[in-house]
Amino acid sequence: MIWLGGIIVGAALLALAVWLYILRQGDAHFEFVVDRRTPFALTELTTQRAVFTSRVPFVNNGTQDGTIMDAFTRHHLPCEQFDGVEVASRLHLETAVRDDGYFESVIFYKGTGSAVVVTVILTAKNGDIQATLQDMVDMPVDIMYQIVARSEWYIHKTRMVMTSEEIQQALAAGISKGQG
């Protein structure tokens, strides 16, 4: 029976060692730093629609490399709150500009990061965007991102708010060529 006990203790010690190894190894962890995003800037303006962009940095501050499999925006402007505009939003990686809303999976090594450019397109339902936006309200925009690394994939979201104040400031400043 001593040998059986030895096997059980050995297996338990091996399991403990593996568990500690995994615990120490950790995993990737992505953070979209919305507190450090740039204010929305106006990048296009017509009679009917206005396009705004904001740069949002992110970092993989975990202990392992990780993959952003997908990332996209989800804006929240219910008609009960404000019915003056139709909203469309998308994002792209700052280093991989594209306008199709597709996000190509990309690996970020631990300790590295980049930025996404969030684009919000507001189209006036009455045809006059500048007049309509005078009454625009604050609009939450969630950045949704799917991560896969050592562990199973998950989808997380980070909220930013496009404020009516920054919309007014962007309109007053005119078209910016800095982002896009």
Partner: protein, 220 residues
């Protein structure tokens, strides 16, 4: 005598609805001569064979959650889904045994034993990001019957030979399937600088011009 020349061929995005031999004929036929060797990227062949899956469609077992932790991060099997994908094809107990023996072999200074024992898919599987959109969110297995595919390409295009290859930017070239008469190591040397380009360049075919007259002779 003309020197060996590499000619990458751009195609549209190839999908599981395509036949790889038809695609090569459509895009490369006019450039292929009897002394040439036509090479095609293995991941593209695998895609046309439907040998791909999404991580979301895999059921991850306990063993995959543990073993992937022992694969260096650059490897496709370092992700739990890359590991599970290989286990689904090669068998999880085979992968476990390969890892145990591979670990022991490493202790005595012998590398690569795990990949030799874990099965062909351990070396060929591409994790997410490994291929171009829209397959960047897929795990792509290695192709099946690669030498048979190469032979079909050779016969259809009337060229000297054909090969299915796995080449990357890390100076790694592997012949997955090849027709008789074409020398694998010579092919790897010719392709080592990855003329296929990175995934988004959409050049999954490379024609090695004048192979029969030059490289083929050199290999003899």
């Amino acid at each position: 005598m003309s020197a060996v020349e590499l000619k990458p061929v751009r195609t549209r995005i190839v999908t599981p609805q395509n036949n790889i031999v038809d695609v090569i004929e459509q895009y490369a036929k006019d450039d292929v001569e009897p002394g040439d060797v036509v090479c095609v990227a293995e991941s593209v062949v695998a895609i046309t064979q439907g040998r791909l899956t999404r991580p979301e469609d895999l059921t991850v077992c306990f063993l995959a959650r543990i073993l992937n932790r022992f694969i260096p991060q650059a490897g496709s099997m370092s992700s739990v889904y890359g590991m599970q994908a290989v286990m689904d094809v090669e068998g999880k107990w085979r992968v476990l045994w390969a890892m145990l023996v591979g670990a022991l072999a490493k202790l005595v200074g012998k590398d690569g034993v795990f990949y030799q024992m874990a099965g062909r898919q351990a070396a060929l599987v591409d994790d997410v990001t490994g291929t171009m959109p829209p397959f960047d969110k897929h795990i792509v297995y290695g192709p099946s019957n690669a030498s048979q595919v190469a032979e079909e390409i050779r016969q259809r295009l009337g060229c000297f030979g054909a090969a299915v290859t796995d080449v990357n930017d890390l100076k790694r070239a592997l012949v997955v399937g090849i027709t008789p008469g074409v020398d694998g190591p010579t092919l790897c040397r010719i392709l080592i600088d990855n003329p296929f380009g990175n995934a988004s360049q959409k050049t999954p075919i490379v024609i090695i011009k004048n192979y029969a007259a030059t490289a083929g002779e050199a290999a003899k």
